[in-house]
């Protein structure tokens, strides 16, 4: 028997992100599999009624909210305060939350406050014989484990994209508001804005169907004895513009900018995929001029279909890490790809 609380924060416009509805779906599945288990929803934001109404028909018996201007910001101190209040009010034994940057920052601290334990990056949840277990990755996606805990409360952060979202009808939720007044010590930090590339320069697209990875080979000396960084940049950016793919890079490529070598100026550490970078989720991935060695390839764990272009027929991609390896010059291939894409667009 568990008392499940789904914790969600609202977006700037008061809505609930898809990842929150994914968590709700996971919670419903657990509730269905466990006997005598209740489900509640806890919401944090400037104003939470609209979010509560969006999920009013999810089957939760109670809806709690912490609202106010102080809780509009993604800030550790106030988020932890609000989440702690919700966990205590719900007397939850199992707290499920989407693994957003906001909750990943705050909820581990909340787990400590309520005397519980926390596990993050859950890629699956299940229940059998009354016991809940989760699947998560260790050693940066190099091994997978199924684990369970006896400690309660148990806070579990679910990786976005792991579960199909709940998509039921909206309704009218009866919301129990909890009054939380942040002390001055919780207001020493203020969010002042966001830094993002211009819309047409943004290369990270989490919702893209395709991940395009550019490796260090693009900036190396080519067959003619010269580097062609400018041409590489043009080919890559043109491809991204035509396909709206998301751009990833290998660690060796993004590190070049710190070493004063020929670089692709639009490639930053935020684009890095792999052991010390991101592990994005996209249906398809195309790797170019990248060796596909393990520290990078682990970042491809959630890319379903994989192809690669590399002059080395014995690179990592050839050894079971890709579906297709094209042994070819990426400069030549991508120029042809871009030309074909332009033809199709104008047809």
């Amino acid at each position: 028997m568990e008392t499940i609380l789904v914790l969600a924060h609202t977006e700037a416009d008061g809505s609930l992100a898809r990842s929150a509805r994914e968590t709700l779906a996971a919670a419903q599945s657990l509730q269905a599999a466990l006997a005598a288990t209740t489900l509640s929803v806890g919401l944090v934001g400037a104003d939470v009624q609209a979010a509560a109404d969006r999920v009013a028909a999810c089957g939760a018996t109670r809806f709690f909210g912490v609202a106010g201007a102080a809780f509009a910001q993604s800030r550790y101190a106030t988020d932890a305060l609000a989440a702690e209040a919700l966990c205590r009010e719900a007397a939850a034994t199992l707290i499920l939350a989407p693994g957003t940057s906001r909750w990943c920052r705050a909820l581990p601290g909340v787990a400590h406050r309520i005397g519980g334990r926390v596990d993050t990056h859950a890629a699956g949840l299940s229940a059998a014989d009354g016991a809940v277990s989760i699947v998560r990755w260790y050693y940066r996606q190099r091994m997978e484990a199924t684990m369970a805990r006896t400690q309660r409360p148990w806070v579990v952060l679910i990786d976005p994209g792991s579960v199909a979202p709940w998509d039921g009808p909206a309704g009218a939720a009866s919301l129990q508001m909890i009054d939380v007044e942040p002390p001055p010590a919780a207001l020493r930090t203020a969010v002042t804005g966001f830094l993002a590339p211009a819309a047409d320069a943004q290369t990270i697209r989490p919702d893209a169907d395709l991940l395009f990875v550019a490796g260090a080979g693009w900036t190396k000396v080519q067959a003619d004895g010269k580097t062609h960084a400018a041409e590489a940049a043009d080919l890559i950016l043109t491809f991204l513009r035509k396909t709206q793919a998301s751009l990833g890079g290998s660690k060796s490529l993004v590190d070049l900018s710190g070493e004063g070598q020929a670089v692709l100026s639009f490639m930053t550490h935020l684009n890095q995929v792999g052991q010390t970078g991101a592990t994005p989720r996209h249906p398809k991935g195309l790797a170019t001029c990248c060796h596909g060695e393990e520290p990078h390839a682990v970042g491809w764990r959630f890319i379903s279909e994989r192809r690669a272009v590399n002059l080395d027929p014995n690179c990592g991609w050839a050894r079971g890490k890709a579906d297709v390896l094209y042994v070819a010059d990426a400069f030549a291939v991508m120029a042809k790809v871009n030309a074909l894409l332009a033809e199709r667009a104008s047809a």
Partner: protein, 270 residues
């Protein structure tokens, strides 16, 4: 009030990224096959935090950097041979298991106790740095629990930049969704930062720095206290390497035109 910051960096050790890892089951739970034999490095994001700490300490006179590290003493000694040559710091060693299958709450408790025991640590000037997520447990939950135990309410994760204004306030950039950074302003210490890559390259090895560091590193290793860290209450029913291995089709001797057509068709297919 004295000038400068007291910067405590928490960083464990992890297997070298190029090593092949294999899980094995043991009486205390899962671990890595031949774990103590595997070459180790300082956790990558914690290492970035250390370089950022040293950079800040150099820029703000009166600052000092400590590195608090939990791991098997013998492995830590090996790792310090390299790390100690990078930047100046004083080492605090906790002798205990450093693998990914231990509990982050246990590790956090041990780290927090060690931080609180640092002689002369000034909380009003305290910055606690660490890696956003480790390359072992990869949970991104240890530093927050350290901060809670130390009573630090201003915490940031996925940090790439820390700037200090003329009034001593901090401006911090954290990675958030969609390839963006959130900009926050914080009044000042005490703060806790879980670093991502930051913006500094890895410093080159400096033997002079190494020699100065080793004067404190060796005594720190010798007086290392044992740390009780485990996985009580946790059951691992399965730990395995991913089974999927693709049957790669290697295409040689095809023209760029042929390859391009195939790629474009593949991209377009829903």
């Amino acid at each position: 009030m004295s000038a400068g910051y007291h910067i405590v960096v928490c960083g464990g050790i992890v297997p070298d990224p190029l090593q092949t890892l294999e899980p094995v089951a043991g009486p205390a739970g899962p671990s890595l096959k031949n774990e103590l034999m595997l070459p180790a490095v300082l956790d990558p994001w914690a290492a970035h935090g250390l370089y950022e700490a040293a950079h800040l300490a150099k820029a703000v006179p009166g600052s000092k950097v400590w590195l608090v590290s939990l791991g098997p003493k013998a492995k830590l000694q090996q790792v310090m041979m390299t790390v100690a040559q990078k930047v100046p710091f004083e080492l605090v060693v906790l002798d205990g298991p450093g693998g990914g299958f231990t509990e982050s709450s246990d590790v956090a408790g041990t780290l927090a106790d060690a931080i609180q025991a640092i002689p002369g640590l000034d909380r009003s000037r305290l910055l606690v740095f660490g890696g956003w997520e480790s390359a072992s447990r990869a949970a991104g939950s240890t530093m927050q629990q350290v901060g809670e135990r130390l009573g630090i309410l201003d915490q940031f994760q996925g940090v790439d930049q820390l700037s200090i204004g003329g009034d001593g306030a901090f401006q911090i950039l954290e990675r958030v969704e969609g390839g963006k950074h959130q900009i926050s302003s914080c009044a000042g210490p005490p703060v806790l930062l879980g670093w991502a890559t930051g913006s500094l390259p890895e410093p080159p090895n400096n033997p002079q720095v190494g020699m100065v560091n080793m004067r404190t590193v060796m005594p720190a290793l010798q007086r290392a206290k044992p740390a009780k860290v485990g996985a009580e209450g946790v059951t691992f029913s399965r730990v395995a390497l991913p089974a999927q291995r693709r049957d790669t089709r290697v295409v040689k001797d095809a023209s760029p035109d042929e390859i391009a057509r195939e790629i474009v068709e593949w991209i377009a297919k829903k």
